[in-house]
Subunit: 198 residues, 2 copies
């Protein structure tokens, strides 16, 4: 019997997941294709069978990360058993717990790559910007619900509040990485909920 080989789709997924793991900590430019292949024991020649280029690999990584992450966001933001504000708080607490578990390393793949690659690759920038726009719209939907039930102040549009929620959180994650402390996240959570939403 010939040795078993993983189906093509599985190998592609294995490479994408290994890529997420490495690129999240090392960024785009510092991640070597060979390093990704070696980490999962896939032979060198296989890479270009699945991806046109490193840029194409990164696009696949961004799409896959978004699919997994968006599903998680959607799940928590659509949980009708708790109020919109509680859902947003739960989202922040989960993000904080995640960063603590990683000892304030890695942070947000989409934020990291946006910062590093927005000026370097128009293809990646458009991909990253589309994903973050989708996340902002998810937050906006939840905030709008809170405005309708009177739980959230209506002084600003749901879109503006959601944009600040997204960019403020991303900035706080960057600061947490740089200071290796979750204090910037705590400050964001305290002030955003007490001053922006109320």
């Amino acid at each position: 019997m010939p040795p078993k080989t993983a189906p093509k789709q599985d190998t592609k997924l294995v490479l994408i997941e290994a890529g997420i793991n490495i690129m999240m900590e090392k960024g785009y430019n510092n991640t070597g294709i060979q390093e990704v292949l070696s980490s999962v024991g896939v032979p060198k020649g296989s890479f270009y069978h699945y991806f046109d280029s490193k840029e194409d690999f990164a696009c696949n990584i961004i799409e896959h990360f978004d699919q997994c992450y968006s599903n998680r966001i959607l799940e928590s933001l659509r949980d009708k058993t708790i109020s919109p504000v509680k859902r947003l708080k739960k989202y922040c607490q989960a993000g904080k717990a995640n960063l603590l578990a990683q000892e304030c390393r890695k942070g947000c793949l989409i934020g990291n790559l946006s910062q590093e690659m927005a000026d370097q690759s128009e293809t990646l920038r458009l991909c990253l910007s589309r994903v973050m726009g989708k996340w902002r719209d998810m937050f906006s939907g939840c905030i709008e619900e809170g405005q309708k039930n009177g739980e959230i102040s209506s002084s600003f549009s749901p879109n503006a509040m959601a944009e600040l929620f997204l960019s403020g959180w991303e900035g706080a994650v960057m600061r947490a990485k740089a200071t290796k402390s979750v204090e910037p996240l705590d400050v964001f959570i305290d002030l955003f909920f007490a001053q922006i939403l109320k």
Copy 2:
């Protein structure tokens, strides 16, 4: 007469300034030493005469950028002819004008390098974190002044507000780079001044 050569200190500064320019757009890992040297016509052999390593070069870049930038921040935040809130607003407007002039490219060198290098180099992380801590303290001093004269709400400590001012601004700059639009900066300015400081 022998040909004139630039004094050592000048060449070092020329390299640092060229490095700032390139690293600001391309990041640390994607910036080649040769590219920096070529951009200012300094021979290849000279680099290690001035710097121990690329990491040491980046530390010099961060220090120099901070010196120039901190002086500008200090100048605007200590301008007693206008109120503390107006000073902070002026700071934001100058930052926005700067980003507009760069067509939403480059952003903040310290923010970019923090995002890219915090997990990659403990030396750079400490250097970046120290600089950003200094900036936060400058903002904090201005906010404290505004709290004392009653212009700024005292619901949160000057340090917490300054941390949000710093991380929120950095996050908005990242989003501006990713969307190639200053709208995220406008949202930050609108909400921070109307909801956080008041």
